[in-house]
Amino acid sequence: MYRYDQYDQAMVDARVAEFRDQARRRLEGKLTEDQFKPLRLMNGLYLQLHAYMLRVAIPYGTLDARQLEMLADIADKYDRGYGHFTTRQNIQYNWIKLDDCADALADLATVEMHAIQTSGNCIRNISADHFAGAAADEVVDPRPYAELMRQWSSFHPEFTYLPRKFKIAVIASEKDRAAMRLHDIGVRIVRNAAGEIGAEFYAGGGMGRTPMIAPLIRDFVPIDQFITYAEACLRVYNRYGRRDNKYKARIKILVHELGAEEYIRQVEEEFAHLLSVGVEPPREELARITEYFAPPAFVDGPKTVDRSDPDFALWVDRNTHRHKHDAYVSAVISLKPAGGIPGDATSGQMRVVARLAREYSFDELRVMHTQNLLLPHVAIRDLPAVWQALDEAGLGSPNKDTIEDIIACPGLDYCSLANARSIPLAQRISERFAATGRTEVVGELKLKISGCINACGHHHAGHIGILGVDKKGKENFQLSLGGSEAEDVSLAKITGPGFDEDGVIAAVETVTDVYLAARTDGERFLDTYRRIGMEPFKEALYG
């Protein structure tokens, strides 16, 4: 994986020093809270309901054992012994003190980590396919391109005060495991008929209160013009994105209001101009970065494993993913124990995962946008040992992509924006389905819960989505069906009037009843919904 050289390290160190200085000036009264706010946000520091929250960047979700151990240490030293992995492949600490923040950032810098641009109206941490470098179906490893973008977008002088936050995802396969088209810019690295590498660009996707699927804006950007094209997309947005209303300031609104065709025309004009200016990094830089992502030294080995333990066999079937080398798999570490808080891990669990990464996965691990962890390269022969260690640490839930694998935002338990609590709902639903054994019967079913309209829990993209709203001072939950964040991307539709907490749990069971009664062989919940439509579900819910 990528390693900092002296330049990258100096940039991060300079940022820590800068933040210390900003905090000092705030304390000396030279900065007002209004002036300080965007500065602390650009260093990942939010003020939440009960305390400051620090969001640490995990670029394209890739970590090594040493880094995860530092995240565990920070949880113990500055927080309450746990952290929360997010849908942007980052980690959040919920109980940080402002006084400790610069020290925590300095600790992070010792392991090539930071909290830069994890918030604020700037280009956020770049996300990527969590199976990058391991997936059998990828054209190339997308991470070198994401790293090139990380460097370009870090401390970008022109794009630090954008109309609104800006999220970019990079993938390199037909399958979309990064919700790419629900990003401000989605990039798919492709190979053209001539065998050359380039990038497909999508722009103007997003969730929030106005969910939109990003249209394709260019089917092939030659890779030696990659950054220039991205710069053109951002410049048009920076100049013309709306600034009169923060709810209409994302690029999706600009693309929607201009129309994709007009946005494309403006980007192409700016792109042609920037090509003449020359903003692309030297070609050798991509080559230099790519060397860091050279595949590890895989060795041949057994392709099967003793499956006599049914619990183990179930975990293998559910939680492993096909690898490009047939003696290996990628192993998903579920952070969704039945009744648990989605995405939370204790410092002890982080250390177990770090040890397993070191012993069994070439010292590499990933954070998934589904709020799970991943060992990307596990030899099939090592699976029993890995599973046993995970199981002992409470990390062996065999529930990837099932109804227990819930994405949920922090909700009203932590978040100052939320209208409703997401976590208790996720806990009760996973508990219920695990207890009745229905999880396995239902199979793949992506349930996503947001505690407010901002949609951090991706409810628009859930096969089943739940949105918490405030209804006359009471929590109320709207149910929606038919969303997908994958290559078959779609936005979920609301079923009808909302429910209280008990009611929405019953409603989730009801819609799975409808599915089970109607499904044909091999159909997922989403497929059945798409075939039979909303009516039968509505009938059963409100009939």
Partner: protein
């Protein structure tokens, strides 16, 4: 008359040029299009900086106004002017804060007239924050990638 528009040289707190500052009022972008003798202009956030490109030769001062520090359109305006070859004074005025100085400098601003005077020491530190830079921008600094691959 637009004689109250713009800043005067004594409002400029930081200046990275050796020539004499222009000492007369700036006009709006719209006025430049009509007035053939204007040499100083003030860009507001909603103005299209590219409208000035035919007149760059006669402009000695372009002020870019930041009514709110969070409105970043002026950064693009500055780069666009420098990319088009504008070599006159490019002055950031209005809500210009310490932590924006280094980025503004990179976008091509070479003078600064903050509406609230900034602490000299803090500002000096801010201008020097980044010993190296990742991106190519209007200041023509060699980037980290350039340095990594220099022959």
């Amino acid at each position: 008359m637009a004689d109250s528009l713009g800043t005067s040289p004594d409002e400029v707190q930081f200046r990275f040029r050796d020539d004499e500052p222009v000492d007369h009022a700036a006009v709006t972008v719209d006025s430049v299009l009509e007035q053939t003798n204007a040499t100083a202009v003030r860009i507001e956030p909603g103005d299209d900086a590219r409208l000035l490109l035919p007149f760059l030769d006669r402009l000695a001062l372009v002020e870019v106004n930041f009514p709110a520090f969070g409105d970043g359109r002026g950064y693009s305006a500055a780069r666009i002017l420098r990319e088009a070859g504008y070599t006159g004074e490019l002055r950031a005025v209005g809500a210009v804060l310490i932590d924006q100085l280094s980025h503004m400098r990179r976008c091509g601003f070479d003078s600064f007239a903050p509406d609230q005077r900034l602490d000299e020491e803090d500002a000096a530190r801010a201008f020097a924050t980044w010993e190296n830079v990742y991106q190519r921008a209007a200041d023509a600094r060699r980037t980290i990638a350039d340095k990594r691959h220099e022959a």
